[in-house]
């Protein structure tokens, strides 16, 4: 039997920890190690480790790198200072979202573009097509591992193992240094709504870094899988590509119009369509819903008006460990107002509209 499913450099660690593995975007990934609720709560209250080696890493380098990215994505990467990061999107000419990205400026002439695993080849192809002249595009996914430590105590656990002053590092900043004696790019970023750090390193260095982090804590640090990652990002109101984001929506529908820098000079892919959408307003709105029963709205369930008409669709839904009730994000028609119900397998369950995020660590 042939398989194209790829292992991360931490496969042996996950097996040792007894993880339940799942195929995700062509990778064999840990879904959970034990209780995903306990993993979720560890990130909210302490810290946990994630293997994110499936993510795509694409380097854009050269004297024209900044200008090339300004044309390729809807943000304004050339304005980033060295050592800073920004959340942005790669859009199609019609404004539809092809992927959401974090771009780090690692040096004056070097940017690291981090893409979703499932979209890495699309992002790579688009960057190569869009970044002509003065910029080199290089897929570094195969030579880059990614270990993330997330949670309020993440900095305290990382600090003794690194030469970087992580305690004073700004959110959405990054720097080259060492972790457990291994060279790494360490950034204060994440996808959990919690403080945390992402450690980009050589694949062979993932395991020593993982072991050093968990070995530095009495009793070890918990590991967290994709199941916890999904409920953490949902509570934080962060969109997931394929759920809230896709080629059929622009950043405006997702409530992320701020990432579209129509104020930057020069043309960029999607500018005309995005400017028009900005002027006319989004065609649908991403809202937060709090379930009022214990039955959980899931991806694809219909959102109903008070009259029972279908006015939207749930994009992500889960029982929220932090709130103790179901939460969901949903797209509803532009002029639809609450109260809403959700068709949970044939029975309408009431849901309360709420602002996003569901959980904000600063509150």
């Amino acid at each position: 039997m042939t398989s194209t499913v790829r292992d991360t450099p931490l496969r042996a660690v996950h097996e040792r920890l007894g993880a339940t593995m799942t195929e995700f975007a062509g990778w064999l990934m840990p879904l959970r190690y034990g209780s995903e609720t306990a993993e979720h709560n560890a990130v909210r209250t302490n810290a946990a480790l994630f293997d994110l080696s499936h993510m795509g890493e694409i380097a854009v380098t050269g004297p024209g790198a900044g200008a090339a990215l300004d044309y390729a994505v809807c943000g304004w990467p050339s304005r980033l200072s060295v050592g800073r990061a920004r959340y942005t999107m790669l859009c199609a000419p019609d404004g539809g979202v092809l992927d959401d990205l974090i771009i780090y400026r690692q040096a004056d002439e070097r940017f690291l573009v981090v893409a979703n695993a499932a979209n890495t080849s699309v992002v790579l192809d688009e960057l190569r097509a869009r970044c002509s002249g003065g910029a080199d595009i290089s897929d570094e996914s195969e030579v880059t591992g990614l270990v993330s430590i997330q949670g309020p105590n993440a900095g305290g656990f990382l600090a003794p193992l690194t030469d970087l002053p992580v305690a004073s590092m700004a959110y959405y900043a990054g720097a080259y240094g060492t972790v457990a004696g291994r060279a790494a790019w360490v950034a204060r970023t994440g996808y959990t709504g919690e403080d945390g750090f992402e450690i980009f390193c050589a694949p062979a260095d993932c395991e020593p870094i993982w072991d050093a982090l968990t070995g530095s804590v009495e009793g070890g640090l918990p590991a967290a899988g994709l199941a916890a990652r999904d409920t953490l990002r949902l509570e934080a109101g962060m969109p997931l590509y394929g759920n809230e984001l896709g080629p059929d929506v622009t950043p405006y529908e997702a409530g992320l119009g701020r990432v579209v820098r129509l104020d930057k000079p020069g043309d960029f892919v999607g500018r005309e369509a995005l400017a028009a959408r900005a002027a006319e307003g989004p065609r649908s709105t991403l809202i937060g819903l709090l379930g009022e029963s214990r039955r959980v709205p899931r991806h694809g369930y219909a959102v109903l008006s008070a009259d029972g008409d279908r006015v939207g669709v749930v994009t992500s839904g889960a029982p929220s460990p932090t709130l103790g009730r179901p939460i969901a994000m949903a797209y509803v028609e532009g002029d639809a107002g609450g109260p809403f119900g959700i068709d949970v397998r044939g029975k309408t369950e009431p849901a309360e509209v709420t602002g996003l995020p569901f959980y904000d660590r600063r509150k």
Partner: protein, 129 residues
């Protein structure tokens, strides 16, 4: 993974303990591991008639929801009300405190008809990977 020898099983991963004319029903260790943390279980009402192989409730976990099937015909005589406050019992003790409901089996029903032996169930879960 635990498959107690004294129980019978269904293709849908329920277990059944038959004592005289009463069947106690829950979901298996395999099921709880596949589902992840159970956060809510909707059980049939006491007094409700249930039919073997038909859905009579649902089990919500972090990632998914599954129908709960009755393995036998009969009338529900008791449900585990502890699960309302603490659905985690299903993960912690699927064959013990995590039991779900009891059915007084309809007259003339052959107790183990259509149910899987522990060996058969073990084979089923192993072939499912």
């Amino acid at each position: 993974m635990s498959v107690p020898a004294e129980l019978r099983y269904t293709q849908e991963h329920e277990w059944v303990a038959i004592d005289g004319g009463t069947a106690t029903i829950g979901i298996t260790d395999y099921a709880t591991q596949a589902l992840g943390d159970v956060v809510y279980v909707s059980l049939p009402q006491v007094g409700a008639a249930v039919t073997a192989g038909e859905p009579c409730g649902e089990v919500e976990s972090t990632k998914s929801v599954s129908d709960l099937y009755s393995p036998v015909d009969g009338e529900v005589v008791e449900v585990n009300e502890e699960l309302d406050d603490d659905p985690g019992l299903i993960n912690a003790e699927p064959y013990g405190l995590g039991w779900m409901f009891r059915v007084r089996m309809a007259d003339g029903q052959t107790a183990a008809a259509g149910l899987l032996s522990p060996t058969e169930y073990d084979t089923l879960t192993k072939s499912a990977g």
